[in-house]
C-alpha cells in the first residue's frame, strides 16, 4: 500500500519545496543568460555578416539538434578533461545556457524575420544606421511578437532542469528521488506531488503568456 499520510509529512514537503527552489533558481539564471546570448547570436545570424553569420548558423543548428542530456554530460564529465571542473549547479546552468541560447537565437531570428522589411528600409532611409534601426525600430516589434514562443521555451527549460538530476543537482526531481528512496510506499505520492509542483509553475506561466498575448493583440 502506498503511504500517503507519511509521504506528505512536512519534512518531506519542505524538502521537495527546497528542490523546487533550486529548479526555479537554475531556470531563471539560465533563461536570463540565454536571453542575452541568444539575442546576440540571433541578430548575428539574421544580419548576414559574411562568414560570421554562416558559422554562427551552423553552431546554432548543431547544438539545437542535440539532446540536452548529452550537453549536460559533456559539460560535467567532458570539460574536466580540459582542466575545467564546474560544480554541479554551475555545470547545470552552463549546459542549460548553452542549449537554451541556441533555441532562443532561433526564436529571435524568426521574430525579426516576421517584422516587415519595410520597417528596416524606412528607418535606414531616415538616416538611421543599421544598428540604430535594429535597436529602436525592428527589435521592439520583434520582441513583442515572440513573447508566446519565449514563454513556451521557458516552460520547457523548467521541465528540462529535471534532467540535471543525473549529475546530482539538488533540484526537485533529485529531492523527489531522495524521498521515495527511503520507502517504496512513497513512490506514487511523491510523484504526484512532484508532478503537481512542476505543473503549477509551468501552467501558471502558460496562462500568463496567453494573457499577455491576448492583451497585446
Amino acid at each position: 500500500m502506498q503511504n500517503w499520510m507519511n509521504a506528505y509529512s512536512w519534512v518531506n514537503i519542505r524538502f521537495l519545496l527546497q528542490g523546487l527552489e533550486i529548479t526555479i533558481l537554475i531556470s531563471v539564471i539560465s533563461v536570463l543568460l540565454s536571453f542575452i546570448i541568444g539575442s546576440v547570436l540571433g541578430i548575428i545570424r539574421y544580419s548576414k555578416i559574411r562568414y560570421v553569420s554562416k558559422i554562427v548558423g551552423v553552431i546554432i543548428d548543431v547544438i539545437r539538434n542535440l539532446p540536452l542530456l548529452l550537453i549536460i554530460f559533456f559539460v560535467y564529465f567532458g570539460l574536466p578533461a580540459f582542466g575545467f571542473k564546474p560544480d554541479t549547479i554551475p555545470a547545470a546552468i552552463l549546459a542549460m545556457t548553452v542549449f537554451e541560447s541556441m533555441m532562443i537565437a532561433e526564436i529571435i531570428r524568426s521574430g525579426i524575420m516576421a517584422v516587415d522589411i519595410g520597417q528596416m528600409e524606412a528607418s535606414r532611409s531616415m538616416g538611421m544606421t543599421y544598428i540604430q534601426a535594429m535597436w529602436h525600430v525592428v527589435l521592439p516589434q520583434a520582441y513583442k511578437k515572440m513573447i508566446p514562443a519565449m514563454v513556451s521555451q521557458f516552460i520547457s527549460l523548467i521541465k528540462d532542469t529535471s534532467l540535471a538530476t543525473i549529475i546530482v543537482v539538488p533540484e526537485l526531481m533529485q529531492h523527489g528521488q531522495v524521498v521515495y528512496g527511503q520507502n517504496p510506499n512513497y513512490i506514487i505520492p511523491v510523484f504526484v506531488m512532484m508532478a503537481l509542483m512542476y505543473f503549477v509553475v509551468c501552467y501558471a506561466l502558460s496562462l500568463l503568456s496567453k494573457y499577455i498575448d491576448h492583451k497585446m493583440a
Binding site: D61, V62, R64, N65, L66, P67, L68, L69, L70, F73, F74, F77, G78, P80, A81, F82, I155, K159, D160, S162, L163, T165, I166, M173, G176, Y180, P184, I187, I188, F191, M194, A195, Y198, F199, C202, Y203, S206
Partner: protein, 212 residues
C-alpha cells in the same frame, strides 16, 4: 576518436538502433493518441472537449523524466515487470502525444469551417467528414510542425538512459565510463544523434518555406 569508434562500433550501433526504434514506436503511437485527443478537443460535446484539454495541459506541463520514471517504477509495482526500454517508450509516447494533440488541433482549427459544414450538408456523418475531408487537409498543414516534434522526440529519447533503456545515450555512458575518454565518446554520440535530427530539421525548414 576513430579508434574509439571502431573499438566500440557494436555498442554505438546497438544504441543507435534502440534509439531509432524507440523514437519510431513512440512517434507511431503518439500520432494515434495525439490525433484522437485532438479530435476530442474539437468535438461539439463540451465534456469531451474538457477531457481532451485536461490531457494536453497535464502532460505538456510535467517533465518527461517525471512521467518516464513514474512508469518505470510504478508499473512493475502493480501490473507487470517491464524493462527500461518499454517504460521509456511509454513515457515518450504519452509526453509527445500531448504536443502532437496540440499541433493537430491547431491544424484542424485552421481548416475552413465551411469544409465541415459542406461535408455534413452532403449527408456525411461527423466522423466521415472528419476522416475524409477535414483530417487530410489538416495533416498536410501540420507536417512541418510534426517533423519538428519528431526531432524533439529523438532528442528526448535520451531519457531512456535514466531507465537503462539500451539507447545511444546509455551506451555512450557505458563506453565513457569504461574508456575514460568522455570527450570523444560524447562527441561520437552527438554525431549519431545529428545523423537523424539534422536532415529532418533542415527538410522541415525547407518544407515550411515552400508551404509559406
Amino acid at each position: 576518436m576513430i579508434n574509439l569508434l571502431t573499438h566500440n562500433w557494436n555498442s554505438f550501433i546497438t544504441g543507435f538502433g534502440w534509439t531509432v526504434l524507440s523514437s519510431v514506436l513512440a512517434l507511431f503511437f503518439s500520432l494515434i493518441i495525439g490525433s484522437l485527443v485532438a479530435i476530442l478537443e474539437v468535438l461539439p460535446n463540451k465534456f469531451f472537449r474538457i477531457i481532451g484539454k485536461i490531457y494536453v495541459e497535464i502532460f505538456r506541463n510535467i517533465p518527461l523524466l517525471v512521467i518516464t520514471m513514474f512508469f518505470y517504477l510504478v508499473i512493475p509495482l502493480y501490473v507487470v515487470k517491464i524493462n527500461g526500454f518499454t517504460a521509456g517508450t511509454i513515457g515518450l509516447t504519452i509526453y509527445t502525444s500531448a504536443f502532437i494533440a496540440e499541433t493537430v488541433r491547431a491544424g484542424i482549427n485552421s481548416v475552413d469551417i465551411g469544409q465541415m459544414e459542406a461535408a455534413r450538408s452532403q449527408g456525411m456523418t461527423f466522423w466521415q467528414a472528419m476522416r475524409y475531408i477535414v483530417l487530410p487537409q489538416a495533416f498536410k498543414l501540420v507536417i512541418p510542425p510534426l517533423g519538428n516534434q519528431f526531432v524533439n522526440l529523438v532528442k528526448n529519447s535520451s531519457v531512456l538512459a535514466f531507465v537503462a533503456g539500451f539507447d545511444l545515450m546509455y551506451q555512450g555512458n557505458a563506453i565513457a565510463s569504461q574508456t575514460f575518454d568522455t570527450v570523444n565518446t560524447y562527441l561520437i554520440v552527438g554525431l549519431f544523434y545529428l545523423i537523424i535530427t539534422l536532415p529532418i530539421s533542415y527538410y522541415m525548414q525547407y518544407l515550411e518555406r515552400k508551404l509559406a
